[in-house]
Symmetry: C2
Subunit: 294 residues, 2 copies
């Protein structure tokens, strides 16, 4: 059966994850779809001279939402990310006044735009497209910036992350990963967009190489899971990544570690104290050279 | 020529990095040494029944300091870490009241101790020792927790990190890495200790598997460097890691990214804005599966 496409143009986009969301399509569990996503800035930036003077009111358009039949609060939505393909021939990385990690740094110019052309992967041994930044070529490593479901009570614009997902900007949300999201509302209501051709862990300037993509996913539901998932969780194939959002990095770190402790307790029968101390030995990960499994 | 040993027992240890430090030994640049380090808790914890009721006044003993001839403020001390060997047959991971990421978590018991026996690597195909946590075996991945030089003006106990290094607790300070430290005082005055048999990135409970080690290093000096190094910098062989310490994670992240921007500007001739945006594409790193270089 052909994989159905959910398109930003024909099905529509949202700029808010809200408790009540209208589905553009309802699918059965274990359905494979392609989401077409536009770039986070809605095509406004096409040359180095296009400057983003401020964050627009509508940013990070998320294609959807898609309802999954039978998904109810307490279930878990399983999003297998099979492929994230670049759908235009250039991305863009920008600074904007009052935005990003270095917004108070006098040496950093804002607004500033650098178009990042995409080179076809056929020219490279590994077949991987390249993202150009000036004279340098970076292997493309596409990821989805904003992906989430209808939240429990509050509404969140697509510019912020929280327990429902949203603007996670985590570069492990990529080809080959499985993202698990808590279901807070009937149907779950998945929407996604804000993809990057490549993005640093941290997205320090506030954007990666923002770009339109076609995203192949299979959506499934884990009904009545034994594990009480409170926040997004990613299986990269190599690692389980707990993902927490909070007002400070310290608070987010605590939540993410607490979630990791819960996983370790579930897997190994550890007490919270054992999970905490075991996690203090094996949590996080090392550079590839010395990466180990056990 | 035999590699000289600097011993915690015979040469001594420090519990403070201070502007004025007495060298236990003075060596020429490009000298290879072995530092013998004791465990961070001075041998006080030998069974699961030994509990750490509070952080002792003297903790993280650092063997040294060693002066390097000719090193002057503005120079850079280059510490090539050739080997970190486990020097006792068990480590220990502990919680202590009022210490560590989860100190306010009611589910976590403190004090708590888990002895982590070391199994010989000869029993494993990869020849790597294992660290036991209950029934599980973790491949040993020793790192140095506390390593630093005499600071510019203030004194810092070996329990805290800052621009001089100190209690960095960064698991990239390990075999095969090169650590660069700013020289603030004549002779630099290097001391190190607080090693772990294995430690999570984040050391959430406040310790890794604390253990005595023998550390082979070669100390050298980069005189009058072109690059103005303000804080520790690590070359892991795969990545450059800027290391910053501050009151909040946000502030430390800004400093570390600013340092990375300086490196990118130096290497590629980028303006600060170009370095910032390029860094937002390639900074950080991905899980091993998808790790790329460019």
């Amino acid at each position: 059966m052909a994989r159905e496409t959910i398109s930003d143009d024909t099905h529509g986009v949202v700029y808010e994850f809200a408790p009540e969301m209208e589905p553009v399509r309802t699918v059965e569990p274990n359905t494979s779809l392609t989401f077409e996503t536009r770039d986070s800035l809605n095509g406004a930036i096409q040359t180095d001279d296009d400057l983003l003077e401020e964050i627009p009111e509508e940013v990070n358009a998320a294609t959807g939402s898609v309802a999954v039949e039978g998904a109810d609060p307490g279930d878990v939505l399983r999003v297998e990310i099979e492929d994230v393909r670049l759908a235009e021939d250039h991305g863009r990385v920008v600074t904007t006044p009052g935005f990003g990690l270095m917004q108070d740094d006098e040496d950093v110019e804002a607004p500033f735009t650098r178009i990042t052309p995409v080179e076809d992967g056929e020219n490279y041994d590994d077949g991987r497209p390249r993202v150009r930044f000036g004279e340098r070529s970076i292997p493309a490593d596409p990821c989805i910036g904003t992906i989430g479901v209808a939240p429990a009570e509050e509404s969140y614009t697509t510019l912020v992350p929280h327990d429902h997902g949203g603007n996670l900007d985590t570069n492990d949300v990529t080809t080959g990963s499985v993202l698990y999201l808590p279901v807070f509302q009937s149907g779950a209501m998945l929407a996604m967009g804000d993809s990057k051709a490549v993005m640093a862990d941290g997205e320090m300037c506030g954007t990666g190489a923002e770009i339109a993509t076609d995203v192949d996913v299979t959506l499934d539901v884990i009904f009545d899971p034994e594990f009480d998932l409170e926040r997004p969780l990613i299986d990269t194939g190599d690692h389980w990544k707990t993902v927490a959002s909070a007002e400070t990095m310290e608070a987010a770190t605590k939540l993410a570690h607490k979630d990791a402790m819960k996983l370790l307790s579930e897997e190994h029968g550890y007490s919270p104290t054992e999970a905490h101390t075991f996690g203090s030995l094996v949590g996080g990960w090392r550079s590839p050279r010395s990466s180990t499994r056990w």
